[in-house]
Symmetry: C2
Subunit: 90 residues, 2 copies
Amino acid sequence: MTDENIVFIGRKPAMNYVLAVVTQFNSGSKEVVVKARGRAISRAVDVAEIVRNRFVPDAEVKEIKIATEPVEEEGRTANVSSIEIYLEKP
Amino acid sequence: MTDENIVFIGRKPAMNYVLAVVTQFNSGSKEVVVKARGRAISRAVDVAEIVRNRFVPDAEVKEIKIATEPVEEEGRTANVSSIEIYLEKP
């Protein structure tokens, strides 16, 4: 999979990322990965659900992975949770 | 599965819920489901990751489900995302 199929969720409103995912599906991608860390994880789930329920009804959640990633913050290393939601069109 | 195997994530610190999950595994449960809605979803992922990485190393993430649930709020119905993380011991 190339990087173009990954949408990183940040602090913007969910609809910004929904648009990014829908655009990738409309441009021919069969799979789009929604990724987020920390507090953005809730928004990632919102994005995946809004895409499926409102814009790309035939998209399915193929797999969801969670993990722990080390993050450098002010000289020390903290752990932050992450999520990857794999959306797939048949 | 009975209700005793479900841990609902709310607004308390993650370690409160980690303790609840670990207690259920230690009392003999083979599967514990971590559930959350809305902004608590990020905390649910934290809880699952802390349980696996620090307290119950043989626990595996068997499945993760996401969904959209209608919630009554001040007379109107809003949609909120939810997550269920199924943790299983072999």
